[in-house]
């Protein structure tokens, strides 16, 4: 490998071994799961098959759960993208006023343990006598996604060239017109990135959904959790593999939009002031 930079002395062999063992430990179970989904065991032979995937697709309950997941994901990500983008623009170069309150609450929603988040929302819905259902799931998902959208869009805003807005103002644009025709178009990629991130967060969430969803309105992860309590099966392998592939595709998408960095930066925000987004 010729590309090793001379300015970085190699880590000791032990570190490399640990890296490889770690990667092995992280990935082996998932690989086994995917293999299990593609193999049919008969008493005397093992055959490749797509049968388990067909069973998943033909399972009405699973498809209903998928429908719920997609429905919640789409609505929640749309809502949190709109609210989060609006928040990021509102915070943009403003000082004082509401700023500390909004930022403080966004940090709270990021760093509080999921379980506290889940049960506090459950308590709220109980006190306000909201009926648990997909609506309450959407509300919960929006609540934890807004901050990620704020971070994604905020990171882009921080890199904007101020002279563009000044130029718009000099040409007589009102504040609204400046936002509408100068700032917003420049934000589109990060808004899409934030929206996709919140869809993934919503699609993957188990714990909070488990607390606030209504009876018989499971999302896919909740369904998987319940089914898993009964044991493993090739059909569940196929279902999990499908969900894994979706995540993989989303990840590739994220690596392009670099929204995934924001995810970790956001969670570490109160410890280390987040750095500029890497292009």
């Amino acid at each position: 490998m010729p590309a090793i930079e001379r300015s970085r002395p190699q880590a000791p062999p032990l570190a490399k071994i640990v890296l490889w063992v770690t990667l092995l430990l992280l990935h082996t179970p998932i690989l086994v799961m995917i293999l299990g989904a593609l193999i049919e065991k008969t008493p005397d032979s093992w055959n490749w098959t797509l049968r388990w995937f067909a069973e998943v697709v033909n399972d009405q309950a699973l498809m209903d759960a998928l429908k719920n997941s997609v429905f919640v994901g789409v609505i929640a990500s749309l809502l949190s993208t709109v609210i989060g983008t609006s928040a990021a623009v509102g915070l943009y170069r403003s000082a004082g006023g509401w700023r500390w309150a909004v930022e403080g609450l966004s940090v709270v929603s990021l760093v509080f343990p999921e379980i506290v988040f889940a049960l506090s929302l459950l308590s709220l819905f109980f006190i306000l006598q909201f009926e648990l259902g997909l609506t309450t799931v959407v509300i919960a998902h929006v609540s934890f996604s807004i901050s990620y959208v704020m971070m994604t869009v905020g990171a882009r805003l921080a890199t904007l060239d101020r002279s563009l807005e000044d130029a718009a103002r000099d040409l007589g644009a009102t504040e609204w017109q400046t936002y509408r025709s100068v700032v917003l178009p420049l934000l589109v990629p990060s808004i899409i990135g934030g929206g996709a991130l919140s869809f993934l967060l919503s699609f993957d969430d188990f714990l909070i959904t488990y607390f606030v969803n209504g009876v018989g309105q499971d999302t896919l992860p909740v369904k998987l959790y319940t089914a898993m309590k009964l044991g493993v099966s090739p059909k569940l392998n196929a279902l999990s593999s499908l969900m894994f592939v979706m995540t993989l595709l989303a990840l590739i998408f994220f690596f392009r939009s670099s929204a995934f960095r924001v995810f970790f930066e956001a969670r570490g925000k109160h410890e280390s002031k987040s750095e500029k987004e890497n292009p």
Partner: protein, 277 residues
């Protein structure tokens, strides 16, 4: 009201109603009484807090605290070595490693745990391998135990340690390492006297990012630990979803929040003191 404040209105309303208000409600509920058939009766009491400090629950808390600490410790050691190896490989490999670390993390937790259970479960590769090698094992004990919980915790939270550390390594001035090498320091001396002191902030940030969610973890012990492993997160969940003793569950979560708040404040103070020096 300026246009900018109008932009902040939706988020402000949403956060107040669905983040702040719920937390306040939990605080209030923790001083209420459990109704006869579950639910909440509004007569005020400190009993929930007194109960939370009884030996049984303190024991469960200590167990969770220990698990969170051990998880953080493992992630710390692994994280340093892993991110060191990552940061010193070629540019292309660095990207690949990063993706390989992040991918399982972005994969749904329930799926990852499902995969682990499949791996260690009956007729799974691990049991098949052990049988093949003729090593005796207890099939049931193998599928649900503390070590499995620890494995699940470490593989779940490692990225939270690796990413801050890797970021710090990326900015680290490796000519310092070369200087130390020229002066005859061995690799471990370099690690402890040159590299780690420069990564302090990332080490702390990573540790908190691992420790905080570990303390309240519910899903991993629930699915990998079996019924024997009652942890704090499971205890809270049981109070809310099974025992229907919300006031007690609320008191337990308030205590957890207070502890985490104290930890965060200590970290802040430490950081402020460091900034002054």
């Amino acid at each position: 009201m300026k246009l900018r404040d109008l932009f902040l209105l939706p988020v402000g309303l949403w956060f107040v109603v669905f983040v702040l208000l719920p937390l306040i409600i939990v605080g209030v509920v923790s001083f209420a009484t459990r109704g006869t058939y579950g639910g909440v009766e509004w007569s005020w009491t400190m009993a929930n807090y007194v109960r939370a400090f009884s030996p049984t629950y303190l024991g469960i808390f200590a167990e969770s605290f220990k698990l969170a600490l051990v998880t953080t410790g493992f992630c710390l050691v692994l994280g340093v070595l892993v991110s060191w190896a990552m940061a010193t490989s070629s540019t292309r490999l660095r990207q690949l490693y990063l993706m390989a670390i992040v991918l399982p993390f972005l994969t749904n937790l329930v799926i990852r745990i499902y995969a682990i259970r499949l791996f260690v479960g009956a007729e799974g590769p691990l049991q098949a391998g052990l049988t093949f090698l003729g090593i005796p094992f207890d099939a049931f004990a193998l599928t649900q135990n503390k070590w499995l919980v620890l494995y699940g915790m470490i593989t779940t939270y490692l990225p939270f340690m690796v990413l801050p550390l890797y970021g710090a390594f990326e900015k680290f001035d490796f000519s310092l390492v070369e200087a130390a090498q020229d002066l005859g320091a061995d690799v471990w001396k370099i690690l402890f006297t040159v590299i780690l002191p420069n990564l302090k902030k990332a080490l702390w940030a990573g540790s908190l990012l691992v420790f905080i969610p570990s303390l309240g973890e519910y899903v991993i012990p629930d699915l990998l630990g079996g019924a024997k492993n009652m942890l704090y997160g499971n205890l809270i969940t049981e109070q809310f979803l099974k025992a229907r003793d919300w006031p007690f569950g609320a008191a337990l979560s308030v205590l957890m929040m207070v502890l985490l708040l104290v930890l965060a404040l200590v970290f802040r103070m430490w950081e402020a003191r460091r900034a002054r020096n």
